[in-house]
Amino acid sequence: MKKAIYLRIALILSTVLLAIVFFLPNTPFFSNMPDWWKKNMPHKGIVLGLDLRGGSHLIFEVDIKRARQITVERIAMHLQSLLEKKGMKPIIKTENEQIYIQPVNEDIKKIVRDNYPDLSITEQAEKVVCKLPESSFKRIEATSVEQAIEVIRNRIDQLGVAEPVIHRQGENEIVVQLPGVKDPKKALEIIGKTAQLEFKLLDEETTLWKELPSLIKAGEEETFLNQWKNKLAETDEIVFQKIVNKETGEVYKRPYIVKKETLLTGDLLAEAHVSIDQRFNEPYVSLRFNDAGAKIFEDITSKYVKHRLAIILDGNLYSAPVIQERIEGGNAQITGSFSMEEAKDLAIVLRAGALPAPVKLIQNVTVGPTLGKDSIEAGKMAVIIAAVFVSLFMIFYYRLSGVIADFALILNIILLIGALAALNATLTLPGIAGIALAVGMAVDSNVLMFERIREELRLGKTPKAAIESGYKKAFWTIFDSHVTTLITAAVLFHFGSGPIKGFAVTLSLGVAINLFTALIGTKTVFDFIYIGKEHKSLSI
């Protein structure tokens, strides 16, 4: 029997030791540990959640519908140029994710089939109708989400956020966690920008320019577009340039008529960085295309000398310079009235590449660093005060036995923190609440046992016998009452998001560890005191 006690004491001590080893990385002592320790022993500890550390938890939704459209439009554009190279002049339109080609002829069909074997080809009202099968679309959806993740990761790397977490959720959502991000607003802007760079020609031949107002008010774009929709030639569209009155800060939009056809996109960029225009002291973004891009750029600039080329980013026209001469080497510039900051951000998104489809922010939970710090302080305070209250009450109510229960309580807290560290669990603010509640619940088992022991004593049993039967009889009550709490904690873990999961983890670990500390911890102390010698009274 004696031996068994020592065994249990050894068990308790070793769990405490383990807990300390696991928790060490969260303490300042860790930096003083020898190198072999840092290398071979646990070094991660408890991770603080974004609500405590400060940071942003973002969820983006990839516009999959748009991704499908973009793919269809690209195929249509490619077919157009293929057919033109063969000397044909087809009319190609896209609608409802289908490509319509006029006129109907076998040569056209053959070229489509040879280049895009996936496309199903039918005829309808004097048009060739090409349609991608749903399986191809599904593949496109999946890859566009993957690509979007890659692009977002690149952009975040450029922002210099430490330890970002980026992963896919469900079909078309991307979760981005940015711990300790300094300027969440800027991060949001940079991550969410599609950065679809396009080069298009202005339609300088149309007579509509005379009717076009030079400026409209910001916010009136949509009504304006509706008015103009039917006037425009089918191959043309209107894009706007943002004009800011530098004195009043008022924003206006200048409409331009451009040809729909995209001559070159930002996919082929090799480099983008900010430069300063020496004459006007204004920042601009200089671009360099890769070899393939440079070749296309050279072709365009040689073919359209003296024409105006619109540089369009995410549907907004930035500048529309006149092509003076053929440009070799693939260097171009985006000028516009940028601030230095805007130019820098633009260079970042261009460098990191365009998103395959627009993304929409559907959740943003951002906690500032000061609130996080305050929360930790408040949480710590609450846990300590809860522990002190409860311990004092136990000593007051159960005397020496209360001290033993408090010993179990402290053991409980140590093991709980150790277990959280061992699991590298994420501690959140509700998680701290879970610890505080676990403190309150930790002594419940002891209360149940002590009350039972008191009952047994009242029946006239000796202290030793009372302890033995008290433990035995209270066991199932304790077990049942713990299991119900564990069930709810498990449900919370399954359904909850980040902070709530943290609560479920601390609460369930707290309750589980409590079974150990109450049934092994306090029992060992009782046995140590009361075994062997027969005490006449029990301080309870």
């Binding site: 906690v367 403190v439 709810t488 498990a490 609560f503």
Partner: protein, 301 residues
């Protein structure tokens, strides 16, 4: 030996009809709250309703009316402004996700209250899709937690007890929900986790009482004692531990309420209410329900 209560002999079950009446009102209140939540009349957190919520800290105390007049002037409509336990902080909520709303609120406050140095401490912006999903998840969580507890109690106790425990738990959750609704407190995800925790914890007390009733049922021969007096005896026997266990957890919840910071304030309040109501229901709801169901069948020997 210090005892909160000596040997008691209170006729708890004698008051069962008053208790059940009161509890019935509580449950109705809870249903009313659910109805109002459904109708959109409750103070729903943005995590369920979708929208934007900004927590703003000032260097000096501000009043809701001065913030409201500034937002009105900036033509920010439908903003719901709430106080937080610390007077230097406020919460501004917008029901719909509007582009640029955050910027215009920030700008208006920085201009209107520049002497009080407003700082945005936290931003929660939830799209309608996420809000709907969270609602569904919360509902599923409540249902599966209830089912899990029900099954466990049914396995460990006899059928009548499992009904009694379930009714008591349901009562606690509904009562806290109803009180929160009446107080105008925000119903959000943290509150739902508080409700689930209450559901798990309120069973602790019920289990303690049921355990004793079950134990005594085994000891009493048929005809010597009515079920009602056996239950009264059992409740009295475990009364002090029922109260002491609740008291210690209540202490922890009170510590959270006063010292845990504004984010946990309402969570702690829900826990305090839940612990008190849970203790009440383990005595006045759970056992009476078992009594009404099993008067004839429980004492067999």
């Amino acid at each position: 030996m210090i005892q909160l209560l000596g040997k008691t002999n209170i006729n708890f079950l004698g008051k069962k009809y008053y208790a059940l009446g009161l509890s019935f009102i509580m449950i109705i209140l809870g249903f009313f709250a659910i109805f109002q939540i459904h109708a959109g009349n409750a103070n729903l957190g943005v995590d369920f309703a979708g929208g934007l919520s900004l927590q703003i800290r000032f260097s000096q105390p501000v009043t809701l009316s001065e913030v409201r007049s500034i937002l009105d002037k900036a033509q920010i409509k439908d903003a719901d402004i709430q106080e937080l336990p610390t007077e230097k902080k406020i919460l501004i909520k917008l029901k719909k996700q509007q582009e640029g709303a955050q910027d215009s609120i920030e700008k208006a406050l920085k201009e209107g209250l520049s002497n009080k140095e407003p700082v945005v401490e936290s931003i929660t912006e939830i799209g309608p899709k996420i809000g709907e999903r969270t609602k569904k998840d919360a509902l599923l969580a409540i249902l599966s937690a209830t089912a899990g507890i029900l099954i466990y109690i049914a396995v460990r106790f006899r059928f009548h007890f499992s009904i009694g425990a379930t009714v008591a738990t349901f009562h606690d959750v509904m009562a806290v929900l109803g009180i929160f609704y009446i107080l105008g407190k925000e119903i959000n995800l943290i509150f739902i986790s508080a409700l689930l925790t209450i559901a798990g914890y309120s069973l602790t007390d019920t289990v303690v009482v049921f355990d004793r009733i079950r134990e005594n049922l085994g000891k009493v021969a048929k005809g010597t004692m009515t079920l009602e007096s056996l239950m009264n005896k059992s409740i009295n026997e475990v009364l002090s531990r029922t109260i002491v266990t609740s008291l210690t957890t209540l202490m922890a919840a009170i510590a959270l309420f006063f010292f845990g910071g504004e984010v946990l304030h309402d969570f702690a309040l829900a826990m305090i209410l839940g612990i008190i109501i849970g203790t009440y229901s383990s005595i006045f709801v759970a056992s009476p329900v078992v009594l009404l169901l099993g008067k004839k069948s429980l004492i067999k020997r």
